[in-house]
Symmetry: C2
Subunit: 366 residues, 2 copies
């Protein structure tokens, strides 16, 4: 399906805008394209000119009297000739606007065009809500599982990228994520009992099993994530997801809440618990009302299965979401047992924002 | 000056679009906002409805017959009440569009709104031309020097960011850049002669002087960059730019080309040459026609002042710009003396793209 390309060109004049002069000055440029003009004028808010082209493209020119002039052009994407003509049109408008603004030079901003409705979606906003475009060039996998929307897209620089319900989870470039959530390379996993909550992309499991642990148990709810990553995230997971069981690991395809409860009841203890669940964890049986209560339930259960000298690792959030981070830390003070924690800020390449990782430990010794 | 907020909401229907039904279905929502409608219909390209509001905001609804429906709303930025109303309007349109598309669910995309004409510009495209929004919240410095436009902006997560003529150069978070262009932590600078080309932010100089070199000479053309960074990039440069001379360093405010020529003539040699010039280097006396010839001139002169066992470090480009990287490597094969090179791909936090760094050395021994 043909996508649309949306181009913008903005002028901050640094002086009040004379709408009539600007409209008249730019008219010949749009007319030369065969575009028809229609103008709406507000008594006190400037004017809006809309230009339509026979080929289906259109432009809007909004002139704000305080000195802001915004041009938008929407046209068909993927046609090199059209793209060249569009650039030439934008160049002409920029040149003419600079003449019209004499002697003052306007501040000009031309953003890379936005592709809208494309088969390959390149826009995956950051956790702190910023607009970012990725260098995605291929959709490798896209399905809805019973739990979430699963996408694996190819980025030219980051390799394949797992996106769960719109959140960038892990790219093949993101060894820094796996390293951070395993304790930053400062831990000795040899001979240890390890529990991974979530982690369906297999990145952590793959790295932990290399370190000769006694046994790793991974509890991932979504078989479809495992199957997709097994196929398309091999640079992250290696061969570890090819079988749900190996020499020193096993993968349970299950909701981690009942599993944690059973382990707690049985008195099963781990040296490391690594929580790699999605930001808002999925459970088939959420017993608690709010996300925070649910997060606390997972933390509480995790502490119950953590040895007294064990460590709990988890990813926190974007470093800019200070309120969410503070609330998370507040939960740490409300667990059944007292805990200490430390945090580290890490640059995960594909995230395009800095990320906070936590280490949590029990402060009462047995 | 009041900025404008541009919101988008896109629907890919997965089926042909019935323009009339959609227009009619959405009309009540825009009317309830007191917006006036005007419709343009193409014989074969669908239609465009423009809605204007008395308060100066406006919307365009473009319906492409193959099944793409794009809504744009432009309104005044910075008014919390208006922002809430806008969100509510977008929610209503989304809900109604889902009803109108029954039984098929449309693919919906709502991007973070773009702020246009704001006093603080948050959009600094990557080297490979992608649209990215930074978490910039303050303009600390903005001046035009005789050579370039200099900005230092504050990013919440990256600290202060130096932007030269629109290119993100260095943020206070970018120790990874400085480390990479100094050889990735694998070099011994103690007692060495070091030449830095460019580097006006002081980041490299600050780190090299810590390593007890014999003498560091830095040649930076732009005094205004030095003065701005001395004040606003202290987390990168420390106190090193407070004086142009120190125990083991001196800063020449000069064009590096004549300096390199003089050093070559005098037979002055360095253990390390670190080229930290901007992507398209600035010289007051460019003798060569093209950028590539100019880059080769700098490389040739640098090799002339490099000891036979010395190393030349430089930043290359965004990893995605494979053509530019190949052209650069081609230049390395055309120098006056044979050289070898290696490259490393590094994640520089504030760049939002992976970056290539080069190490170059002479392959003929004396």
């Amino acid at each position: 399906m043909a996508a649309a390309r949306h181009s913008t060109l903005d002028f901050s004049l640094g002086a009040t805008a004379d709408g009539e002069t600007i409209l008249k000055g730019l008219q010949p440029i749009f007319r030369a394209q065969g575009m028809s003009e229609s103008v709406h004028t507000w008594p006190a808010h400037g004017c809006l000119a809309t230009y339509t082209n026979e080929n289906g493209s259109f432009a809007s020119l909004r002139i704000y009297p305080h000195g802001l002039v915004l041009l938008d052009i929407q046209s068909s994407d993927g046609d090199a000739q059209g793209s060249k003509e569009l650039d030439s049109l934008l160049n002409k408008v920029e040149e003419r606007m600079k003449e019209l603004s004499q002697p003052r030079a306007p501040r000009v901003k031309r953003l890379p065009p936005i592709v809208r409705g494309g088969a390959v979606d390149r826009y995956w906003p950051t956790a702190d809500g910023r607009l970012v475009e990725y260098d995605i060039d291929e959709v490798l996998y896209e399905e809805d599982s019973p739990y979430q929307n699963i996408k694996i897209l190819h980025s030219k620089q980051f390799g394949n990228v797992l996106i769960l319900s719109g959140d960038v989870n892990l790219a093949e470039s993101d060894g820094a994520y796996t390293r951070a959530i395993m304790g930053g390379g400062n831990e000795d996993y040899a001979g240890k009992d390890v529990l991974i909550l979530g982690g369906g992309d297999g990145g952590i499991l793959c790295e932990v099993v290399k370190l000769k642990p006694k046994m790793v148990t991974m509890v991932e709810i979504d078989q479809m994530v495992i199957d997709a990553c097994k196929k398309f995230m091999r640079k992250a997971c290696g061969e570890v997801l090819d079988h749900l069981q190996g020499d020193c690991y096993r993968v349970l395809v299950a909701d981690c809440i009942p599993v944690l409860k059973r382990y707690a009841q049985e008195g099963r203890m781990f040296d490391y618990v690594i929580n790699d669940l999605t930001a808002v964890p999925i459970s088939t049986s959420p017993e608690e009302d709010s996300t925070w209560e649910f997060l606390r339930l997972i933390l509480d259960l995790s502490m119950k299965v953590l040895k007294h000298d064990g460590k709990y690792f988890t990813q926190g959030n974007c470093v800019n979401l200070t309120e969410a981070l503070a609330l998370y830390e507040e939960q740490l003070g409300r667990l059944y047992c007292p805990v200490g924690f430390s945090k580290e800020i890490v640059c995960v390449p594909s995230y395009l924002e800095l990320w906070v990782f936590y280490t949590v430990w029990k402060t009462t010794k047995p």
